[in-house]
Symmetry: C2
């Protein structure tokens, strides 16, 4: 009951607006948000399949997603919640078919192929809920404010919603795994998604025994994390140093060396 | 100095991994994350142009973006930081050109056109830093794990990074406005972005006098927020009620009515 009340408070705060938006974040609150960002993981194993997600936690997570930014406030997302095993099984079949294709793409690099085959890449059946997140380009259209020059911004909004969902799930102790080795046509067919609606993500949600301290692919040496300086340019593409950014570069170097 | 130390702690925690990932979030921490999600705004006005963003805050925000999920851990993003006024002015010109086109699209709906014209849609010059976020489809490629069936997942990763950036900025008290009324070709030309790299977002960052309690477009009556039940389907597209989801629907209805 306490939790349901909490859910209602969270939702009504966001819907009716309240003063807290005016207030700054305390150091403690700031740290909590960074903690969520840094400890969020893409989860494929350690799902506790016998521990169900309570409805109020699920609704808080979905409400967080629904409060993502969207171009022209178009809110072009839908969330198809899937608990039915026979539907999950059909999605799993699509995964297996696409996975086979992906393995064959590494035919000329046996070492990498072996490593690839050793990875667990989905938790469709073990996770307690699957969520297919879709994009509706027709919502509040055809004139969508801010989408007049770059059509794809509608899809970008849906991805922001997915990231909100992911972070909210993390603080609820719920792991999320994004299964992308699927055929879109299969999702259309299995989930009865109309042609004009685009499936964007297929997510597996469930309580997990643990969250790894680093991404699995980093731990397993598949790819290393890039240094922050490797993804920053100054004023224009390819520029990594400039007189006007001396102080910035000094702080960046200090952080990277520490 | 204290702040720089904090930045270093935040970054080294995330890079070297530590125990906190194993721990659950306290109620207080959970609330802080939901507060960030619900109070984040797309900001176009109220920028305090004379208050610069400190380098360490900017780096914490960029590091948060860099810790987004990415397909196959490909980290396909770059962040072009822009403070130079002459570059900003060129981007503003692109906005004005595209804006004119968008106004003409409402030629047949004068009432909506008037409302549209009354809106402030960008803060390019007033914000202290602009950031162009780009997508590199070639990074760690051509075989990117998880991108073999759905090519667009690479772009989706970049959008997740943008949402991390947005939430981190919010807790730092920094407003973010996404300017999407721009021509991609102009961004390529102005920022020297190579052909194979795709500009995804052009963001304006700066301290703001206030964060509105609701999205501007909602307050101004451009579009209303959809109810949560309107964006949820059960098991398949279009299904909003089912015997297996009775309890869920009861909680959802209770929340929506409250």
């Amino acid at each position: 009951m306490r939790i349901i009340t909490y859910a209602i408070i969270m939702m009504s705060e966001s819907r009716h607006g309240n003063d807290y938006n005016e207030f700054p974040f305390s150091d403690h609150e700031m740290k909590a948000v960074y903690k969520a960002i840094f400890s969020r993981r893409d989860v494929r194993s350690h799902f506790m399949s016998d521990k169900a997600i309570p409805n109020d936690a699920l609704l808080r997570i979905l409400n967080a997603a629904h409060h993502a930014p969207s171009v022209g406030f178009s809110q072009p997302w839908n969330f198809i919640l899937i608990r039915n095993n026979s539907i999950k099984e059909q999605v799993k079949k699509s995964f297996l078919k696409e996975y086979k294709k992906s393995v064959s793409m590494l035919e000329n690099d046996k070492q990498r192929q072996d490593k690839y085959i050793s990875l667990k890449l989905e938790g469709i059946m073990e996770s307690s809920i699957n969520i297919c997140v879709t994009y509706d380009p027709t919502r509040f259209g055809p004139f969508v404010l801010g989408r007049t020059s770059i059509e794809e911004t509608g899809v970008y909004s849906v991805c922001c919603a997915i990231q909100n969902l992911w972070l909210a799930a993390r603080v609820e102790g719920i792991g999320v795994g994004w299964v992308s080795i699927l055929a879109k046509e299969d999702l259309h067919q299995i989930l009865g998604i109309p042609k004009h609606i685009r499936p964007i993500a297929y997510l597996c949600l469930g309580y997990v025994e643990k969250f790894s301290s680093k991404p699995d692919l980093e731990v397993l040496g598949w790819i290393s994390r890039l240094g922050l300086s490797e993804v920053i340019c100054l004023e224009q593409w390819g520029i990594t140093n400039s007189d006007n950014w001396q102080d910035f570069c000094t702080v960046l170097n200090r952080i990277e060396k520490s």
